[in-house]
Symmetry: C2
Subunit: 295 residues, 2 copies
C-alpha cells in the first residue's frame, strides 16, 4: 500500500502482459476500488475475470469505460485509433486517458483526436516487458524499478499528469518526462533497433539448409541464444512498433547498416587495427552502463 489516493474506478483496454500487470498492481496496491476491463477478445475477457483481474470485462469498449476516472489503453499501436473512436464518446467528463504505447508520436496522432474536451490525455510509456503475452503473463513487479516515460502535450492538465505520475510511482516505476519526438528517437535506438536486428538475425538462421539450422539450435549458447530471447516477443505488437516509429527507426537502421558495412569491409581487407578500434568503442558503452548501474 502507498499513500496514493485510489481511483474510484479505472478501465483497462487490452488485457495482455501490460494491461494485466496494471490490473494486478491496482488490485494489490489498492490504486483503484473497481477495475473494468475492455478487450475485443472474448477469451481474454473470460480469462481476465477467471483470474480476478477485474470486476467486469466486456468486448464492448464503450461500455467498459463508462463511469471510469482513468482509462489505461494497453493495446498494440495499430489498434489505438479504433479504440479511440470506440471509447471517445463514452468517456466521463474529467476522466484521464493514458496508454502504454511504445511510440508516442503515433499514439498522440491516433488516439488524441478522439479525446473529447474536458477529458485529460496523458500519454505514457512504461518501459517494461517480457517475452510473454496475454492476460496470464501479467505480474505485480513488472514495472518495479523500471522507467515510465510521460509525454504530456503542451498545456496538459497539471493535476492529471501528476495523478498518472503518482499511479506509476505507486507501481514502483521511475518517472521521466520527454517530448514525444525525442522519446521516439531514444526508443528507436534502445529498443526498436535491437528488436529489429534480433528478428532479422534469427530469421537469417531459419533460411539455412535444414541440417545447418539444426546445428545452429544445438550450439546456440555461444551468442545466438540471446538474440532468440529478444526475438520471441509478440509479433503484432512489434509489427505496429516498427510501422509507427518508421522515421526514427529507419534512420537508426541506416546508421547501423553503414557501420556494419564498414566492419564487413575491415574484415574482408584484414584491417585488424580498425576492427579492434570498433570493438573497443563498443566496450566503452558497456563500461558506461556499468557505471550508470544499468548493466
Amino acid at each position: 500500500m502507498t499513500d496514493f489516493q485510489a481511483f474510484e474506478q479505472i478501465t483497462i483496454i487490452g488485457i495482455g502482459l501490460q494491461g494485466a500487470s496494471i490490473a494486478i498492481n491496482a488490485r494489490e496496491r489498492g490504486l483503484a476500488r473497481r477495475i473494468h476491463i475492455g478487450d475485443i477478445s472474448k477469451a481474454h475477457c473470460d480469462r481476465a475475470l477467471e483470474i480476478g483481474l477485474g470486476q467486469m470485462a466486456t468486448q464492448d469498449l464503450a461500455a467498459a469505460v463508462e463511469g471510469s476516472d482513468a482509462v489505461f489503453v494497453a493495446v498494440p499501436l495499430g489498434a489505438m485509433a479504433a479504440v479511440g473512436e470506440a471509447i471517445g464518446p463514452a468517456l466521463k467528463p474529467g476522466a484521464i486517458v493514458t496508454d502504454t504505447g511504445s511510440t508516442k508520436q503515433s499514439v498522440i496522432r491516433d488516439l488524441g483526436p478522439s479525446i473529447p474536451s474536458g477529458v485529460h490525455f496523458v500519454p505514457a510509456h512504461p518501459i517494461a516487458g517480457t517475452e510473454y503475452s496475454g492476460p496470464d503473463a501479467g505480474f505485480l513487479k513488472l514495472f518495479e524499478d523500471r522507467w515510465c516515460i510521460l509525454t504530456p502535450p503542451p498545456g496538459a492538465n497539471v493535476a492529471a499528469v501528476q495523478r498518472i505520475r503518482a499511479f506509476w510511482e505507486a507501481c514502483g516505476s521511475l518517472l521521466e518526462e520527454m517530448e514525444p519526438r525525442h522519446h521516439d528517437q531514444v526508443l528507436a535506438i534502445t529498443s526498436h533497433l535491437p528488436h529489429l536486428i534480433a528478428f532479422t538475425i534469427v530469421g537469417t538462421a531459419t533460411d539455412l539448409e535444414a541440417q545447418l539450422t539444426q546445428e545452429v539450435i544445438k550450439f546456440s549458447a555461444s551468442g545466438f541464444r540471446d538474440f532468440t530471447r529478444i526475438a520471441a516477443s509478440d509479433p503484432v505488437m512489434w509489427r505496429d512498433v516498427f510501422l509507427n516509429n518508421k522515421e526514427a527507426l529507419l534512420e537508426s537502421a541506416a546508421r547501423l547498416s553503414e557501420d556494419l558495412a564498414r566492419l564487413q569491409r575491415a574484415i574482408r581487407w584484414g584491417e585488424g587495427e580498425e576492427i579492434e578500434a570498433l570493438i573497443n568503442r563498443a566496450r566503452g558503452i558497456r563500461r558506461a552502463l556499468i557505471e550508470a548501474k544499468q548493466a
Copy 2:
C-alpha cells in the same frame, strides 16, 4: 574426481579465461599431476602462480612445454602461429597438442605445420566463455554442460583423440566431432555473427550526439542492454576470430544485410503482413530452441 587417468604433466599456453579454467579443472578434478604455464605476459605468469593455477609459470614457451604429455594452447587465434614456432621443437615425442580456438581451419593452418611428427594434434573448441578475461576469470564450472567440438584431422591418432575427449568429458563438457570447415560455418552463425552485430549496434549508439548517448545508457533495459553484454567480450580475441573466419563470417553477414534491407524496405512501405511474417519466422526458431532444451 573421475576415472580419467591423470596426465603426469600438462602445459597451458595462455592463462586467460579459458586457460585458467582448464588449470582449475585439472587441479580440482585430478586430471594432471603437474601443471606448467606458459604466457608471454609476466603479470599473467606471476598472477597464475599467486592464485595456484600451476606449479611453474614462464614467459619462455619452449621451457613451459618441456616434458609435458599434453599441451593446451589457449591463446588468441592471431598468436597461434607464433606459439607453434616457439613450442614445436620443444614438444616431447608422443605428446598431444590441443587448443581452444574459436575457429578451426585457421588453427590447423597456423599451428599444424609446427607440430613435429610423433606429436599428436587434436584441435578442439570448448564453446564456453564469459565477458571476463585474464587469469582471475577462470572457474571450475565454465565447461560444464557446454559443448566441446573436436576437429581431428584425417588419420589422427585415435588414442590421442580419445584422451582429449575424456579430458573434456571429465570437465563436464558434451563432446562432438566435426569437419573443421563445417565447424567454422556453424560457429559463424551461432557465435561470430551475433558478436559482430552486437559490437556494431553498440558502436552505432556511441556515435550519437552526447546527450542522446546518455539517454541510451539510461534507458538501455529495453533491449539494448542485452547487446552490450555480448559486446563486452575481449577485443583481441574477437578481432582474431573475425579475421580468421573471414569466409564463413562474410557470407553470413551478407545474408543478414540482405534480410535487414528487406525488413527496412517493408517498414518504409508500410508492409504490415510482410513484417509480421518475418517476425513469426524468428519466433519459430525460438520455439525450436525451447524444444531442444537450448533456451
